[in-house]
Symmetry: C2
Subunit: 355 residues, 2 copies
C-alpha cells in the first residue's frame, strides 16, 4: 500500500532519489564498488561533494557573492555551538521562537552575552514575536526561520546592520527569500535536503575572523572552508543523497517552482483545518503558520480513535504531534505530493461526516 | 568484474551488509518506507540504535562493566577534541605514533598541558616507540592503536594507573584485547564497523565528571549518555549499517574468529613482501607491522608501471599509499577476504616473474 509520509524529520525524500541511493549502495558510478566503500578522496566522491556544495549555493542564488557552502556533521545542534564559537566575541541577540532557538541560546551563553530580543515561550511558542528591537552593539542576530514542533514560520526577516544568522533546518529550499540578507545560514539535512547525518552551512566570508578565541579545528569554519569541507572524512552517504535531492529540485525548476506546490499543499490543509469544526489549529495567528508543518488538534476527543484508525487505513504516517505539544502535526516537505495532502483532507472530511 | 577492494577507508564492507542496506533505503522493516524517511524516535529505529550500542559492548566484552556505548558524529577528529573537553583538567600524556596522534595532541593543547611521552615523527612514524615513561600526575594517557597511514600497530599497551584512552579507529573489532584496560575507546565507523558518518565511543562511567569547565552539550559525553545517544537526530543510516556489520561479525563468531582470518591475510602478504625482492616494507620493525594496513614500496621504480597495470587488470583497487608516504598500502579490514589478498600476492609474483 502506498504510504503518505507526513513525518516531521527525518522525512519523506523523492522516490527517484531513494532509488538512486539504493543503487549506489551496491554499485556507485558503475565502479563495481559501493559508494560506502570508496575513498572520500577519490575523484568520484570529490565530484559529489563539489556538486552538492555548488548546487546549494546555486539554489540560494549565492554563487560568486562571497559565500562558502559546507557539508558538516553534528546537525543544527552542533551549529548552535559553532556559530557562537566562530562569531560571538562579546554579545549577540537571539529571537526565541521555540525549542531549537532556546537550545541555541543556551549554547551561545557559554561563550558570551546573549540578549533575548523577544520570546513566545510563555505562550507555548504558538506565535512569532514581532516589533522587537535588535541592539546595534552586537556581533550578530540569530533567528529560526521555521519551528517544526509548533508549526510556526517567520514570514519576514528584520532589516539590520548586524550580521543575520538563521537556522533554516526545516524550511530551507522550500520558499524563495533574499538569501543574501543572511551572513550565515545552517540547516540539518533531514528535512528538504537529504537523510540525517549531514548539515549544510552557508557562510559569508566577511563575517569570519573577528573573534579572538582559539577555535578547535572541528568547530572552525575557516578550517572547513580551507579543506573544501573535507578536513576529515565527511558523511559520504548523507552528502551523496543531499546532492541527489538538490539535483531533483533543480530538475523541477528550483525553489520558485517547489514553493508554488508547497503553498498549494499548505492552503489545502489549512483551509480544511479552518473549515472543519472537528479540528483546530495550534498556531495563534494565521500569518505565523508554517507552510512546512501544520499543527492542529481534534476538538472532539471522542473522535480521536476514529480519526487515528482512518488515518492509518489511508496509509498516512507520521502525523502525531511532537510530545511537547501533543495533537497532530502534518509535515509537508518538498517531496510530499499534493495528492498526499488531499488524502489527509479526505480523511478529515470523512471523520466529520461519520462523527 | 569482481573487485578486490584494499581501500584504507572508507573501505570494504561485507556484501550481505551492503545488500541489506540497499534494500532498507527503499523499504525498511517492511514498513513500505525508506529507512531515510522515518523518525529517529520511531520504535523501528530506536531498536536499531539500541542493538548497535549493545552489540558494540558485547563484541568488546564490556557489558555490565560500567561502560556506555555511544554513536556520535564528527569522526575521530571530533573525539580528539571531546576527550580533552571531558577529561583534561590539568595535564595529559600522549604517545605520538602518526598524523592522527599528532592532531589529537594539537586539539588537547587548547584545553590543558600535554606531555608527549614519545614520538616517532622524525622517522616518518615508521615504528611504534617503546620504553617510554607515563607520568603519574596526569588526567589520562592517550594512544592510537593502529596507524593507517604508516601501517604500524601497537602490539601491547602500557600498564598504568591513569585512565587509558585509545583511538582504535582503524583496528577496532579486528583483534582480541583486554578492552577493560581502557577507560575510553573511540573509533570512526568507516573501517571495520560501517560507512563514514558515525563514530563509536565506549566510555567508562568512572572517568567522567572530573573536569570543572562547562562542556557544550554537543561535546558532552554525559549529555549523550543521558539521552541514549539521541540528544539530537543521530546519523541514522550510518548507525544502521554499523549495526548490520556488528551483526555480521557476531554471526561469524566475533572478534576471536575474525582475528584468525586477519592474521592469515597479514601473514600471506607480509611473507610475500619479505620474500619478493621487488618489494620492501615501509615499517622499520616487524613487530610494529599492522595486520590492517600493509605499507610497502616497489624497489625497482621501472617496474612500477607494470605493477600498476597488473594490479588494475586483476580488479584490485585502493592500494595507492597515502600522499604523505607514497608507495603502496594494502588495507585488509575485516570484510576483505583471504582470496583478495591472494590475488594481490599473485600479481606481485607475476611482476617479479616478468620483471
Amino acid at each position: 500500500m502506498k504510504k503518505h509520509n507526513f513525518s516531521a524529520g527525518p522525512c519523506i525524500l523523492p522516490q527517484s532519489v531513494l532509488k538512486q541511493a539504493s543503487n549506489a549502495v551496491l554499485n556507485f558510478n558503475d565502479l563495481n564498488l559501493s559508494l560506502l566503500e570508496i575513498s572520500h578522496r577519490s575523484k568520484d566522491f570529490v565530484e559529489v561533494m563539489e556538486t552538492a556544495r555548488s548546487l546549494a549555493l546555486e539554489h540560494l542564488g549565492l554563487q560568486n557573492k562571497g559565500y562558502h557552502a559546507l557539508f558538516l556533521q553534528g546537525g543544527a545542534s552542533m551549529q548552535f555551538l559553532m556559530t557562537a564559537y566562530n562569531l560571538l566575541e562579546n554579545k549577540a541577540a537571539y529571537l526565541n521562537t521555540g525549542t531549537w532557538s532556546d537550545k541555541a541560546i543556551k549554547e551561545a551563553k557559554m561563550l558570551g552575552e546573549v540578549v533575548e530580543v523577544a520570546s513566545s515561550k510563555s505562550d507555548g511558542f504558538n506565535f512569532i514575536p514581532k516589533n522587537y528591537t535588535i541592539p546595534k552593539d552586537i556581533d550578530y542576530f540569530h533567528c529560526t526561520s521555521n519551528n517544526t514542533i509548533y508549526g510556526t514560520q517567520m514570514d519576514g526577516f528584520p532589516t539590520t546592520d548586524v550580521p543575520l544568522i538563521c537556522d533554516m533546518s526545516s524550511d530551507i529550499f522550500s520558499r524563495q527569500l533574499d538569501f543574501s540578507k543572511f551572513s550565515l545560514i545552517y540547516a540539518g539535512a533531514q528535512k528538504n535536503m537529504g537523510p540525517a547525518g549531514a548539515t549544510l552551512v552557508v557562510v559569508k566570508e566577511d563575517v569570519l575572523g573577528k573573534v579572538t578565541r582559539n577555535i578547535p579545528s572541528m568547530l572552525n569554519y575557516r578550517v572547513m572552508i580551507n579543506k573544501d569541507s573535507m578536513f576529515n572524512t565527511p558523511p559520504v552517504f548523507a552528502v551523496y543523497v543531499s546532492m541527489l535531492t538538490l539535483k531533483w529540485l533543480k530538475e523541477l525548476g528550483g525553489i520558485s517552482e517547489i514553493e508554488k506546490v508547497n503553498k498549494q499543499k499548505a492552503a489545502l490543509l489549512y483551509t480544511e483545518i479552518d473549515r472543519n469544526p472537528l479540528f483546530k489549529g495550534y498556531v495563534a495567528y494565521k500569518e505565523d503558520r508554517s507552510i512546512m508543518n501544520a499543527t492542529f488538534n481534534i476538538v472532539n476527543e471522542q473522535l480521536k480513535e476514529t480519526f487515528d484508525s482512518q488515518v492509518k487505513a489511508a496509509g498516512i504516517s507520521g502525523i502525531n504531534g511532537h510530545r511537547s505539544v501533543g495533537g497532530y502535526r502534518a509535515s509537508m516537505y518538498n517531496a510530499l505530493t499534493l495528492e498526499s495532502v488531499q488524502v489527509l483532507v479526505d480523511v478529515m472530511q470523512e471523520v466529520e461526516r461519520i462523527g
